[in-house]
């Protein structure tokens, strides 16, 4: 459908509405899977199917609220808005949204907005646990962004484009042999590790650290604010899973082949998470700048020699 025609416009509007909704529903399923898998690893039964919905509805139906100032409120909008915007730039089967108009670099930029929003909002709470948490979160961001950016740049070099729609088309046309995980395995490994760091799960969850700083940035979030964070968690799992699938696992032409890949990526993260302890902040930086960055640089070197 060409640009500027009325049909193209309404299709775009439908995409912009549907993409975040689909992301939210798939995100709920991803959260449920993460909790169920964690329970099975601990030999428990785990929560019922509707548990993520129960949690969100309950948090949004709290009768009292504590706001710590207008920046605290704006922060929640930045958090959710950043992720909802990111969904619009992520191509999924049948829906491209704005992915043709903004490339991978736009997406990387937008995905930093939620964390910065969180930092601004937590600063307004004046809770020392929150301040410690957010300083650790931004430090962790500094750690995982280096291998992440190298992996993304290497992928762009291999595909010869930073347009996500074209990246999916290249991989779909060539079959599994042209998937990122086959053409650049080292970058795929570095991308997996750095995106795990992005999710803030063990062993990189020092900024949440429930037993130490009482969930860090989330410590003062109550009721609807906490509900917004639960919604954000759905979007976060979905965004990371879909981005990894798009870059390294060939994306998808239809939901039936696309969703299993997204769930498999998150399953890898969840399985890693549940068998690790927690690294200290300085260890996170040292480890992230040593191993994933080294692997990513080596992968980049191989890519450049091949090119």
């Amino acid at each position: 459908m060409g640009e500027g025609t009325p049909m193209g416009f309404w299709e775009l509007v439908a995409d912009l509405v549907l993409m975040p909704l689909v992301a939210f529903v798939v995100g709920l399923a991803l959260v449920l899977m993460a909790r169920r898998v964690r329970a099975r690893i601990e030999r428990r039964v785990g929560p019922p199917v509707m548990q993520p919905v129960y949690d969100i509805v309950k948090l949004y139906s709290k009768r009292t609220q504590i706001s710590h100032g207008w920046m605290h409120d704006v922060a929640i909008m930045l958090l959710l808005g950043g992720f909802i915007t990111a969904e619009i730039f992520l191509p999924v089967p049948g829906m491209n949204g704005l992915a043709q108009h903004g490339d991978l670099l736009t997406l990387i930029y937008i995905m930093m907005v939620p964390m910065l929003g969180m930092a601004l909002g937590v600063g307004d709470c004046a809770n020392p646990n929150g301040s410690i948490g957010i300083s650790r979160a931004l430090t962790a961001m500094l750690a995982y962004d280096v291998p992440y950016i190298i992996a993304v740049i290497g992928a762009c070099m291999v595909y010869g484009t930073s347009n996500l729609v074209e990246i999916v088309e290249i991989q779909q046309a060539g079959g599994p042999a042209t998937w990122g995980i086959a053409t650049m395995p080292l970058l795929a490994v570095a991308g997996l590790i750095s995106m795990h760091g992005m999710l803030g799960k063990e062993p990189f969850e020092i900024y949440i650290a429930p037993a130490e700083i009482a969930t860090g940035p989330m410590v003062e979030m109550s009721g609807k604010y906490m509900g917004a964070l639960f919604v954000m968690q759905c979007f976060q799992l979905y965004t990371v899973g879909v981005l990894y699938t798009t870059l390294f696992l060939g994306g998808g032409e239809m939901w039936l082949t696309f969703l299993p890949k997204v769930f498999a990526v998150i399953l890898v993260f969840v399985a890693i998470t549940n068998v690790f302890g927690r690294l200290r902040t300085d260890d996170v930086i040292a480890w992230m700048w040593k191993w994933p960055t080294g692997i990513a640089l080596l992968g980049l070197l191989l890519v450049m020699i091949d090119v």
């Binding site: 601990e42 929560p47 709290k62 504590i66 410590v219």
Partner: protein
């Protein structure tokens, strides 16, 4: 629909609960039932583990009994929690922290007392430093008798509480607003006359529509003099913020 329900008026007589027009609407009732159901199936628990009951909680939550099956999961801060577990005896000093934590939780919130210690002091009944009856200081939704209750008993009280929340009957948190004067009086009798918390419970009760005849009284009057004194100090200490703070109700 029900003709016997009195209309809301400014000079309405003091009833135990005046139903408002909005609450009677079908839409509001359905939404309240949905919300109550979700509340009952998702309880985030804050453990106040200073007593012996703490040892019964790991088996309740981990693989032996797994309370996540019914949506009960531990949380670490009062802001995020719905249910406060007082697991055993409280000394006068720890009760202060319990009240601070309780006031930080967001309503609807629930409190469960573990074991005989929270009911009548238990084996510490003659101690000078131990709180005898928890429900004099904060509203309690349920007690578990025993010394100590087994995880099966803990599970049973969770299920009972869930059934009551689902039916919209677990409203003890409203008593703290409606009867704040009495609770504050008991607290002050234990902690001394200058006892106050950072939370302005009276203002919250007004704001959220839970202000009743028992909210203010002899004991809350003392708080107002303290607030006046604190407000009078603001312009000296923070002249640039003085005007801003004074506007607050």
């Amino acid at each position: 629909m029900n003709e016997q329900v009195p209309a809301v008026a400014d000079d309405a007589p003091e009833a135990c609960r005046t139903p408002d027009a909005e609450e009677r609407s079908l839409w509001r009732r359905v939404m309240d039932q949905v919300a109550d159901h979700c509340r009952s199936r998702s309880l985030f628990v804050l453990h106040y583990c200073t007593g012996c009951g703490a040892v019964e909680l790991p088996p309740t939550i981990t693989s032996r009994f797994d309370m996540e099956r019914v949506g009960v999961s531990p949380m670490v801060t009062p802001r995020q929690a719905d249910l406060l577990l007082i697991t055993g005896y409280l000394s006068v000093k720890t009760l202060k922290r319990v009240i601070l934590s309780y006031e930080q939780m967001q309503s609807p919130k629930y409190v469960l007392g573990f074991g005989s210690c929270t009911i009548n002091g238990g084996m510490y009944w003659n101690s000078y430093a131990t709180v005898k009856r928890l429900d004099q200081y904060i509203p309690v939704d349920g007690f578990i008798a025993g010394c100590m209750p087994r995880p099966e008993a803990v599970q049973q009280v969770f299920l009972d509480l869930m059934a009551r929340i689902d039916a919209g009957q677990a409203n003890a948190w409203r008593d703290y607003y409606l009867d704040y004067n009495r609770y504050l009086g008991h607290q002050a009798a234990l902690f001394g006359e200058d006892w106050h918390t950072p939370t302005d419970v009276v203002a919250e009760a007004r704001h959220y529509g839970h202000f009743g005849p028992g909210t203010t009284g002899v004991h809350t009057a003392r708080l107002e003099t303290y607030t006046e004194w604190a407000m009078s100090k603001i312009p000296e200490l923070l002249p640039e913020r003085g005007a801003n703070e004074k506007v607050r109700p």
